[in-house]
């Protein structure tokens, strides 16, 4: 009787402990697997969706426009005088 009880107890204890320990071990593994899966999935999704293409035309910044406008504004008075001083050609 005692032995039976003991074995039962022992089984119960071991199985319970093992269950706890096994489940304790499994969880991080499962998490790792899911994490890796998510990462892989994300990487696949990203590489599938985002595509960066180099522009086929060179990038040109028009600095001339502002420089010329400044110059043209500055010359306005001088140009007006030139027109007045040369009525035979303007």
């Amino acid at each position: 009787m005692i032995s039976h009880e003991l074995t039962l107890r022992a089984r119960f204890v071991t199985s319970l402990l093992m269950q706890v320990r096994q489940s304790g071990k499994r969880r991080p593994m499962a998490r790792r697997v899911t994490a890796v899966a998510i990462l892989l999935g994300g990487a696949v999704a990203l590489s599938g969706c985002v595509s960066v293409n180099a522009p086929d035309k060179p990038i040109v910044i028009e600095l001339n426009i502002n420089i010329k406008q400044e110059v043209i504004y500055r010359l306005a008075a001088d140009a007006a005088n030139t027109i007045e001083d040369n009525p035979d050609v303007f």
Partner: protein, 139 residues
């Protein structure tokens, strides 16, 4: 330099002009008090020449050989002035010419031709002319 027409109409410029142009120039002369060049004023008011966006005279339509010679002569003189003024102001000839064009287009009178920024020829109305957006606003 041409000092405009004398009483008998024998300025160097007028010698190359035909009777028709000369007549038109003399009729238009009193109307254009600002310019000392009646031939230029006549060509302007008749729309044979117009002010371009680059500071030179152009032809909105078919122009006679006489009109072309007149405009070429004036454009050469204008260029000489632009070169001198560009040097004294330390800017490029193109910049000085464009700056002058801004003023010249603004000064066009009713019915005269001028070139819009897109290159098309316009007739001046009472409204402000279409000018390059780099031009300073009208005073």
């Amino acid at each position: 330099m041409i000092n405009g027409f004398n009483k008998t109409g024998h300025s160097p410029l007028s010698q190359g002009l035909g009777g028709l142009m000369l007549g038109a120039a003399l009729i238009a002369a009193p109307l254009a008090a600002q310019s000392a060049n009646p031939a230029l004023e006549a060509a302007r008011s008749s729309g044979q020449v117009g002010e371009q966006t680059d500071g030179y005279l152009g032809f909105p339509g078919a122009a006679s050989a006489e009109t072309r010679r007149l405009a070429d002569d004036i454009n050469i003189k204008r260029r000489t002035i632009y070169v001198q003024k560009a040097q004294t102001n330390h800017v490029t000839v193109e910049e000085y010419a464009i700056s002058t064009a801004c003023q010249l287009i603004l000064k066009t009178k009713l019915g005269e031709k001028y070139q819009a920024p897109d290159g098309s020829w316009k007739t001046r109305t009472a409204e402000a002319p279409l000018r390059d957006n780099r031009c300073p606003p009208a005073p």
